[in-house]
């Protein structure tokens, strides 16, 4: 982990230490990857941009990858989520409690916006199979 220099704050390389890392919800459940990082640019030209949120999900991933593969992913995502609103799933930076090998988020996984497809798969497919609710013995 990067050292925290008093009065200066910990330094984090966004691509190396934040992007593409695992989001972990409060209950220890996995809640997607950091697919993009959102900044706010203040009106003051001398101020530095600051991180406001982490984007996660197929839409953000497609945008981040770009190129032909990104387009293909984006098309797949649009097809799968036709009736949903298009904004990418987002985790507010205020919920993030630790940035390490995983990014710890102070929220239950089921409350996070990033797990819509997980819930859809659960409700429409997996729950229909007997034994879906039991932990393996």
């Amino acid at each position: 982990m990067s050292a925290t220099v008093p009065g200066e704050g910990r330094r984090i390389w966004a691509v190396l230490e934040l992007l593409d890392r695992q989001l972990i919800a409060r209950d220890g459940r996995l809640a997607g990857k950091v697919d993009d990082v959102e900044f706010d640019l203040s009106d003051d030209p001398d101020a530095l941009p600051h991180v406001t949120g982490l984007l996660s999900g197929m839409g953000a991933l497609a945008n981040h990858i770009g190129g032909s593969i990104g387009h293909a992913l984006a098309a797949a995502e649009r097809r799968l989520s036709a009736d949903r609103d298009r904004h990418p799933s987002r985790v507010d930076i205020a919920l993030v409690t630790d940035i390490a090998s995983g990014i710890e988020v102070d929220a239950d996984r089921d409350d996070l916006d990033t797990c819509r497809a997980e819930h859809w798969t659960r409700d429409v497919i997996i729950d229909k199979i007997p034994g879906a609710g039991h932990v393996a013995q």
Partner: protein
Amino acid sequence: MKKLLGVTLGILTAMGGFVDIGDLVANSATGARYGMSLAWAVVLGVVGIVVYAEMSGRVASVTKRATFDLVRERLGARAGLLNLGASFFITMLTLIAEVAGVALSVQLVTDVNYLLWIPLAGFAVWLVIWRVKFETLETTFGLLGLAMIVVVVAVVQLDPSWTQLWHHATHPSVPSGEGHPTYFYYAIALFGAAMTPYEVFFFSSGAVEEKWTRSDLMLNKANVYLGFPLGGLLSLGLMASAALVFHPLGVGVENLSQVALPTSVALGKIGLAFIIVGFVACTFGAALETALSCGYTMSQYFGWQWGKLVAPRDASRFHLVALLSVFVAIVVGLTAIDPIKVTEYSIVLSAAALPLTYFPILVIANDRTYMGEEVNGPVQNTIASIYMVILTVVALATVPLMIATKAGS
């Protein structure tokens, strides 16, 4: 005492779980065709998987992140996705071969065509994934796989001239009438059979699921340093049995059933019974590992919940991927595509794809901010770097050799 038992159990599991359909086919086929003169490729592959798996297990224990999680983290989304495509395809190919292998093994005791067993075998694989705990399945099939020790007994029973076997293994040469490209093609097949990527996906995901920590590093080392080489011994046993029985007669191994014949010749019905139990356990265990690995790689790339510690409904996409993978394996298997050919392609392509996952793990094993004191030492790094070069050479040579030798024919 209990700890010692745990370590022993781990070693035995790693040993029994080492062999899968790729090892069965590749070792027998090369033993029959080249005698022991390709034993070096098995040794090279076993040392390679030891280096690779030890790093992956250590990285997983320290960071709590499994292999494909780290592949994405270190290579980025784009290169990671291409990597996922290749790794998933090869793991899928292996799964097809393993499911067909279970069916072929059952055919040997029932004489009912293997195509009829494929759907049943696939269903059984899925059911175990759906219902059975990680530890139970790993231990059960690992220990049942120990039945393969019978091939070593068979080799002893065949009473070979050990000095001659040793001489052939230590003085490798291309037999007259055989081209160099084909010889090296088979070397790559053996290398890929020993060093299949799914083994590492499964091993590292298991380490994360069983909540390994720094204090389990000893267990990791014991499993890897003892279990895998002992498993490699089974591979060499398969090779030697084929070299002794088939090589002098000019028999080529084209079917899984032939792999059992030397043991039957040497030890009769009891030996045959053991080796067929070994076949079923090894292929079934590997089918489980590959089906799970399909789920692991995909889920770990996209950050979905994975694993068997939670109910299937709480890891819904992971279970969906595993379910679909098994389904695809059944459908492809039922097309009557030659399972032995699929196996050969899967191991050769495995060898070609190895650098894709090995490379990021090697980088992370050197990341002090991640690994702290557990980074690679200078000896580990030297060996690991040599393997990085070997893997790159193998990867570059595979496709040209495949074309030049018409896939080893």
